[in-house]
């Protein structure tokens, strides 16, 4: 029952959100620049330009263009990219595997590294290793991502010549999913971009795990557990980690959504043919149909990730209840 009401709630939310986003994206369109200038040589005459503008329908008033867009969108047609000459949905779908693989891998790496380290930093705060890890995490947050990327390229591609510096390498097509995980070449190409992304995600999650863990370890029920004589590992993992995981899921989910949609810098530097690179180039080229569709896609992505996060939360903590406004309230579950 709870699941059903959650689903309904989220669906209505999604529709409203997407509708609002579409209006905003559309009204911003005119400020993005003139798509024709990218497509026509400077030497083309004014008459030709005006003709082409008419043909594409750029001269029609806002409401007419929006209406046309809306009607087509409701039929699943979100427009054709000026640059790729294909339906924008196809273009976005084709670039998705690259980003999904990169972000999920980086996320996994971040999770595997941040949880143990964060726990360690929380449990043994005075340990020199903890200080080192916290210091590194500050460094990681402060260094801009492109600097990390270029640094990694410099060390591992140019000097050591161990790893490739751009592209996805060899990919295998399985049904419609182009994966780089099945070839050695593809995996090698994944390493540097993945490390770069992890360098931004890791500091955040390390600190999050640490601070949540510290808070949990001060709670009453943990003190009771110590008093009861339960082993350290039981306290740390059954009580500490489990309760830490919940906020981690929330933050993690949102971060994942952000990275999936907007890993612009990392993808640009590594010429990684994913969604972020696609979006950045679309903006530079003023590929308006693609830009509008991508903004909608990003909105949809966030709605979906939020929904999944809430689902996971529900699974992890059945006592949680979701208020009508969509926030979550929970009592301390594991004691």
């Amino acid at each position: 029952m709870k699941l059903f009401s959650l689903l309904l709630q989220r669906l209505t939310q999604a529709t409203v959100v997407l509708f609002v986003i579409s209006i905003i994206a559309f009204s911003v369109q005119n400020q993005l620049g003139d798509p024709l200038h990218e497509r026509l040589a400077l030497a083309v005459s004014e008459q030709e330009r005006t003709l082409l503008r008419e043909q594409i329908g750029l001269n029609d008033p806002f409401l007419v263009q929006y209406q046309r867009f809306l009607i087509r969108a409701l039929h699943g047609d979100f427009g054709t990219s000026y640059f790729f000459k294909q339906p924008v949905t196809d273009v976005i779908m084709s670039k998705m595997p690259a980003t999904v693989e990169l972000v999920l891998l980086a996320g996994l790496l971040t999770f595997l590294l941040s949880v143990p380290s964060g726990m360690f930093c929380a449990i043994k705060p005075k340990n020199p290793l903890s200080h080192v890890m916290m210091g590194l995490s500050t460094l990681g947050i402060s260094i801009p991502v492109f600097l990390t990327a270029i640094g990694l390229i410099y060390i591992f591609s140019i000097e050591l010549q161990w790893l490739p510096s751009f592209g996805r390498g060899e990919t295998t097509l399985i049904h419609n999913w182009e994966t780089g995980l099945l070839t050695q070449n593809g995996l090698l190409h994944l390493i540097l971009p993945c490390l770069t992304l992890t360098s931004i995600m890791l500091p955040l999650f390390l600190r999050l795990v640490r601070s949540e863990m510290i808070e949990v370890l001060h709670k009453d029920y943990v003190q009771f557990a110590w008093a009861q004589g339960l082993s350290a590992w039981t306290v740390w993992f059954r009580f500490g980690l489990r309760n830490t995981l919940l906020p981690l899921i929330t933050v993690g989910g949102i971060q994942l959504g952000t990275f999936l949609a907007f890993t612009l810098l990392t993808e640009t530097i590594f010429q990684w043919p994913g969604l972020g690179f696609l979006f950045l180039e679309a903006i530079e080229r003023v590929d308006t149909p693609l830009i509008t569709a991508y903004i909608l896609f990003a909105g949809l992505l966030f709605v979906i990730t939020n929904f999944i996060v809430d689902l996971l939360y529900l699974l992890a903590d059945p006592t949680v209840h979701f208020s009508a406004k969509g926030t979550t309230c929970t009592s301390e579950p594991y004691a």
Partner: protein, 526 residues
Amino acid sequence: MTQFSHEKLLKLFLLFLAVSLLFSMKTFAEITVVYDADPVSLDPHEQLSGGTLQLSHMVFDPLVRHNQNLEIEPRLATSWTPTKSGALDIQLRKGVRFHSGREMTADDVIWTFKRIQTSTDFKGIFQPIKKIEKINAHQIRVITHKPYPLLLNILTYLFPMDSKFYSGKTANGKDKSLIIKHGDSFASQHTSGTGPYVITYREQGIRINFKRFQDYWDKQSVGNVQDIVLLPISENATRVASLLSGKVDFIAPVEPNDHSRIKRSSGLQLVTMPGTRIISIQMNQKQNAALKNKKVRQAINYAIDQATIVSKIMRGFATQATQMSPVLYLGHNPALEPRFDLDRARQLMLEAGYSKGLTLSMIAPNNRYINDEKIAEAIVNMLAKINITVDLRTMPKAQYWPEFDKCAGDLLMIGWHADTEDSANFFEFLQMTRDNKTGMGQYNCGHYSNPEVDDLVKRANSEMNPARRSSLLQQVEHILYKDAAFVPLHWQNLAWAAKDSLDIAPIVNAMNFPYFDQLKETAGAQ
């Protein structure tokens, strides 16, 4: 028994030797070329851009082309003779095959010309040609509306296409020959030309694979590269890194910041060349009355120090300009001297009545020309020295061009490259009186209007004698200089970098169309 096994052993050993030699023999196999972008389409007429033309030179052949000295050299046209009526009879090369196997004839050339006339981007260049007639299978007659001195320059853009390959309907019932700018077309994804390379694989934005065309007509070609992989890497640092890491063989463009790094690296070479793209500032006389005053415009010219911009901002990677025409062009006037003189500038401002100062607005792009934003900022500083306050707005090119179309600034930066590799093109677009009907002065945001200049350009455009034509064009440069019609800054240089094993110096040129048909890879390649 022993003798037999010895013989067998010897044979095996020889076989082993042969096989291992075969494998260790250096096959000039595949080179990887990295540009900042891959071609937007495989259709040579869809978009007039550097990328499209670079591709055309690999997959197709033009009738004629410019060499490094900007002289015309024959390609698919072997010779040409003017007729009495003022037309040009052109002999086409025999025995030239398309990738599809068909032989190229006059029909293909004429078919291609007719298609160009339907191309939004290319029709303007070919406007002077009235029609092309077939005399026989390997001879055509090109007829212009009136005597036109740059006919051969235009024909460098005529890359004969396989008319049979591009005729008929696709599986979806669309005409194969259609040029579709904002849609999908057959020609944008399939090619059949006479060029040195055949496209074997293409994934937009990712990679194009080329294979040497075995039936290529140019048997004299020294080029020996069999396979080329073209990759786009938009980020400058990553592109250079790919060359430094040894993974790719040839990159372009190379930003000035990276030049010393490449020169320092062993096994790599950097080739640079003066370019023909002029970077200039226009002074909008219509929007700001002060700019109508010649003395003010001259003062601005005297206040801007092009030499310092070239040395400090461009790091020497540009050629200072006093006019529009680069050195190799007919209209280049060697008598025009650089004129940086702050005292003279202040004097002129005083004489013009603006010694108290003047405020001007300026717009410039920030991602179109090399160091465009920095140059604009330097100009702001330079003009401040003669009491001119400049309100600078810079923006990405996507937003800049609509602003430029409106001439929305007192000072506007614009770079121009002449499609015809000839001086008149500069004047037609940037200095002639604006005329919506004829399209002249389309980018003349200075609103400079001088009937003498207009007349000289018109006369030059029908003057067939190169010496007389040169003199007319040089006169135009002289007048523009005297009138301080605009502010010339510099011509951008071009740079390419590659492994030492690739002989790239002879194949590159000022138009940035590397002629890969002539690319030789030497032994000792890694």
